[in-house]
C-alpha cells in the first residue's frame, strides 16, 4: 500500500532521463532541494543525541557504581539516543556521502560512469531494500502500536513502540535521500547543473559542468 504512494516519486529519475523537459527540471530541482534540506537539518538536530548519550551513560556509571542508585528509565534512555542517531542520522550520512564505498575502481571512473552507477544502483539495490524493510515492518510496528508497547521492565520507558517506528521511518528517509541522489545522477547524465548542496556537504559527480554541483 505505502509502496504505491512512492511509485510516481521513485520513477522520476528515469522519467527525467528520458524526458529532459524544462518544467520537469524545475520540479526536480525543487524536490532535490527539499529532500536535501530536510535531511540536512534532521541530521543537525539528531547529532545532539551524541553528547547526550555520552553524558547519560557516563553519569549512570558514577551514580550506579559509586552511589548505587539509578533509575531504569535513565539507563534505558541510552537505547533511545543510540537508535535515533543510527536510524534518523543515516539519511544525513547518505546525503553527506559518508556511507562507505569500495572505491578501488570508483575513484578512477569518469563522472558519467559514477552517475550511471548511482542511478542504476538506486533502482536495483537501494530502493528494493528500503521497500522490503518498509513492507515487512507494517505488522511489526502495528503490533507495537496496538498495545503501545513499553519496556520489558515494569518501571522502564513506555516508548518501545516509538523506537520500533523508527525502522520504517529509516526506510522512508533512505528511500527519499537515495531518490534525490538518483535525480542528481539523472541531471548529471543529461549534462545539467544540479541544485546547490547544503553547506558543508561534498558534491556528487563534480567535473561534468562548471558549477560542479
Amino acid at each position: 500500500m505505502i509502496g504505491w504512494v512512492f511509485l510516481p516519486l521513485l520513477s522520476l529519475p528515469v522519467v527525467y532521463l528520458i524526458l529532459p523537459k524544462q518544467w520537469l527540471k524545475t520540479i526536480i530541482s525543487a524536490l532535490i532541494r527539499t529532500i536535501d534540506t530536510l535531511h540536512y537539518y534532521l541530521g543537525e538536530i539528531v547529532k545532539w543525541s551524541l553528547p547526550l548519550l555520552v553524558i547519560s551513560v557516563a553519569a549512570s556509571v558514577f551514580a550506579l557504581s559509586i552511589f548505587g542508585t539509578m533509575t531504569v528509565k535513565w539507563l534505558e534512555s541510552a537505547f533511545y539516543f543510540q537508535a535515533v542517531i543510527i536510524l534518523l542520522g543515516a539519511a544525513a550520512t547518505l546525503l553527506a556521502g559518508q556511507h562507505v564505498r569500495v572505491d578501488v575502481f570508483y575513484t578512477n571512473m569518469s563522472e558519467t560512469a559514477r552517475a550511471r552507477v548511482d542511478l542504476i544502483s538506486f533502482y536495483l539495490l537501494l530502493a528494493p531494500v528500503c521497500i522490503l524493510i518498509l513492507w515487512n515492518s507494517q505488522s511489526f510496528v502495528g503490533f507495537a502500536w496496538n498495545t503501545f508497547e513499553g519496556s520489558a521492565e515494569s518501571n522502564g520507558i513506555r516508548g518501545v513502540f516509538l523506537l520500533k517506528t523508527l525502522i520504517p521511518i529509516f526506510a522512508i528517509t533512505m528511500l527519499l535521500q537515495g531518490c534525490a541522489i538518483a535525480l542528481r545522477a539523472a541531471m548529471a547524465l543529461n549534462g545539467e547543473d544540479r541544485p546547490e548542496r547544503p553547506k558543508g556537504m561534498p558534491s556528487f559527480f563534480k567535473g561534468s559542468s562548471e558549477a560542479g554541483l
Binding site: 543510540q82 542517531i85 543510527i86 569500495v102 536495483l124
Partner: protein, 520 residues
C-alpha cells in the same frame, strides 16, 4: 551442491563483484541478496515470508547494549583528533625524541597505535596519520619508503590495539558465533565470550606488534642512519622546558586511553561504560585546551571525577540506600558530594565552551556519520546473511570447511586465506559482519579458542590491508601523500612490515598463550 546452494554461492560472488562497482556497501550487500531472494522465490526455493522477521532482526541491532560502545569510542577518537590533541602529541613526541636515531618514526608508530585505536576505520586513520606526519617525516629527511610505510602500518595497527571499535564489533560477532557453536554444532561448553575478553586477548599481541615495528625502525636507523636521520633539539630550547611541554601534551591523552582500557580490563566498567567515561574525558581535555590560563574548571572536573573513582576503589560503602552511615562513610560521602559538584560544574562549563566554539557540533556530526555508516552496513549484512542462510548457504560453508584437507587446521587456513583476499576489497566492518558469523561457528565447534581466533583474524586482516597491490591502507595513503611519494616507494617500504605481521601470526599460532594468557 543443490540448486539453492548454487544460488547462495552465486549470491556471495555477485555481492563481492557488485561491491566493486562502488555503490555504497550496505545497500549493495542487501540489494544483491534481495535480488537473489526474488529469483529463488520465483523458482519456489525461497519463502518470501522469511523477510517478515526482518524488522525483528534490525531492532536488536540498534538496541544492543554492547554496540552503544561504538558511537562512544568513535566520539572519543574524533574529539581527540579534532581538538588537535593528537596532533600536538605527535609533534611533541617528535621534538622530544628527535635526537634519537629513528625517534620521529618511533613516535609515529606509538601515536598511531594509541590514537588510531578509537576510530578503527582503516581509511580514516591512515588519511589522518598521513596528513599529520608524512610531511614532517619527509622534511626531516626520512627515507620515503620507510616513512610512508611506517605510517600505513601504524594506521592499521590501531585496529587491533584495544580499545578499538573493530574489536568491539569483532568481539560481539565472535561472542554470537560461540553461542551458535554451542547451540547448533553441539559444542559442550557454557562459557561466554565478551568484548572485554577480546580486549584482554588482543593487548599483548598488539604490544608485540608495536614493539616489533619500533624495533625495526630503530634497527634501520642504526644500520643506515641516512634513512632515519636524527634531528637535534632546536638551539634555543631549554631541555627542561621542552621536557615539561612534551609531558604536558603527552600525559593526558595517554592517561585517558590507559584509564579507559584499565577500567574495562579490570572489570570495573563494561566496555560501553568505559567508552562513555573515555568520551567524557576526551570532552573535558578538549575543553581544557580552550580555557584561558587560570580557569581550568574542566580540568578540575576531570580530576574530581577521577578522585571519585579512586574513592570508590578504596571500598568505602557510599550507597545512598544504606541506613547505617559510619563516621568514615559519612565523611567520605561529604567529600564525594563535593567532588560530584565540581564534576558537574566543570562538565557544564566545558560543554558550554565546546558548544560555543562549534567543536561539539562538528565532532557530533562526524561521529554520527561514522556511526550511521557502521550500523547501516550491519543492517545490510543482516539482510545478506538472512537470505544466505535461507538458501542453505551456511550449511554449505560448514560442509566445505569439513571437507577441507587437514581437518580443523586446514579449514582454519582456508578461512584465513579467504579473509586475507577479501581484505583487499572490503573493510574490516563488512568482513566481520558477513564472514565471521558464517565461518566462526564450525571452527569454534572444532575446539579453537574463540578469543584466539578473533585476535588472529584481526591481525590477518590488518596484514591484508597492508599487502600490495590491493592493500587498503596503501591506497588511502597514496591519496593524501605529496607527489614525490610514488606507489613503488610504498610497495617497497611496506614489505618488512608485512614480514613482521606474518612473524607475529606465526608466533601466536606457536604460542596461543600470548593471547589466552591474559583472558580472565
Amino acid at each position: 551442491m543443490s540448486l539453492p546452494e548454487i544460488l547462495a554461492a552465486l549470491m556471495f560472488v555477485c555481492g563481492c563483484a557488485g561491491l566493486m562497482a562502488g555503490y555504497n556497501v550496505a545497500f549493495t550487500l542487501a540489494g544483491v541478496s534481495v535480488i537473489f531472494a526474488g529469483i529463488a522465490s520465483a523458482l519456489g526455493l525461497f519463502d518470501p515470508s522469511f523477510f517478515l522477521s526482518l524488522p525483528a532482526r534490525i531492532y536488536p541491532i540498534i538496541t544492543r547494549e554492547i554496540l552503544i560502545a561504538v558511537p562512544l569510542f568513535v566520539f572519543m577518537g574524533v574529539m581527540l583528533e579534532k581538538s588537535k590533541i593528537a596532533e600536538e602529541l605527535l609533534q611533541n613526541m617528535g621534538d622530544l625524541f628527535g635526537p634519537m636515531r629513528g625517534g620521529l618514526g618511533i613516535s609515529v608508530i606509538f601515536v598511531g597505535a594509541l590514537l588510531a585505536a578509537s576510530t578503527g576505520i582503516v581509511g580514516a586513520t591512515v588519511v589522518t596519520m598521513g596528513l599529520l606526519s608524512l610531511p614532517t617525516m619527509l622534511k626531516r629527511g626520512y627515507d620515503i619508503p620507510l616513512a610512508s610505510a611506517s605510517i600505513a602500518a601504524s594506521g592499521t595497527l590501531g585496529q587491533i590495539i584495544p580499545p578499538s571499535i573493530v574489536l568491539v564489533i569483532l568481539g560481539d560477532q565472535i561472542g554470537n558465533a560461540f553461542q551458535e557453536a554451542q547451540r547448533s554444532y553441539g559444542l559442550e561448553s557454557d562459557a561466554v565470550v565478551s568484548v572485554g575478553d577480546l580486549f584482554a586477548g588482543a593487548l599483548l599481541p598488539g604490544l608485540i606488534l608495536v614493539g616489533a615495528y619500533a624495533l625495526y625502525i630503530f634497527a634501520t636507523a642504526v644500520l643506515s642512519p641516512a634513512k632515519a636521520p636524527a634531528q637535534p633539539w632546536p638551539d634555543d630550547t631549554d631541555a627542561k622546558e621542552l621536557l615539561w611541554r612534551s609531558l604536558k601534551a603527552m600525559l593526558p591523552p595517554i592517561f585517558l586511553i590507559v584509564a579507559v582500557l584499565g577500567s574495562i580490563l579490570s572489570g570495573y566498567a563494561t566496555p560501553t561504560r568505559g567508552a562513555a567515561l573515555g568520551a567524557l574525558g576526551a570532552m573535558l581535555l578538549a575543553a581544557t585546551r580552550l580555557t584561558p590560563e587560570g580557569q581550568k574548571w574542566p580540568l578540575w572536573s576531570a580530576l574530581a571525577l577521577l578522585a571519585l573513582v579512586a574513592l570508590d576503589l578504596t571500598g568505602v560503602d557510599l550507597r545512598l540506600a544504606q541506613t547505617e552511615w559510619t563516621t568514615t562513610e559519612a565523611s567520605a560521602g561529604v567529600i564525594a558530594a563535593i567532588l560530584v559538584l565540581i564534576g558537574i560544574i566543570g562538565t557544564l562549563i566545558g560543554t558550554t565552551r565546546l558548544l560555543r566554539n562549534g567543536q561539539l557540533g562538528d565532532v557530533s556530526r562526524t561521529t554520527m556519520h561514522i556511526t550511521g555508516m557502521v550500523f547501516v552496513i550491519l543492517i545490510g549484512a543482516t539482510i545478506f546473511s538472512l537470505v544466505f542462510r535461507g538458501l542453505g548457504g551456511d550449511e554449505m560453508v560448514a560442509r566445505l570447511m569439513d571437507s577441507a584437507p587437514g581437518g580443523t587446521w586446514g579449514a582454519f587456513a582456508l578461512v584465513m586465506l579467504v579473509m586475507f583476499i577479501l581484505g583487499f576489497f572490503l573493510d574490516f566492518i563488512e568482513i566481520t559482519f558477513v564472514v565471521v558469523p558464517l565461518v566462526a561457528p564450525p571452527l569454534l565447534a572444532a575446539g579453537i579458542d574463540p578469543v584466539w581466533l578473533g585476535v588472529v583474524m584481526a591481525i590477518n586482516l590488518q596484514t591484508s590491508f597492508l599487502t600490495p597491490p590491493f592493500g587498503f591502507a596503501l591506497f588511502y595513503l597514496r591519496g593524501v601523500s605529496p607527489p614525490e611519494v610514488t606507489t613503488s616507494h610504498l610497495y617497497r617500504g611496506v614489505l618488512p612490515f608485512i614480514a613482521i605481521q606474518l612473524a607475529v601470526i606465526a608466533l601466536l599460532i606457536a604460542f596461543p598463550v600470548l593471547v589466552t594468557g591474559l583472558v580472565n
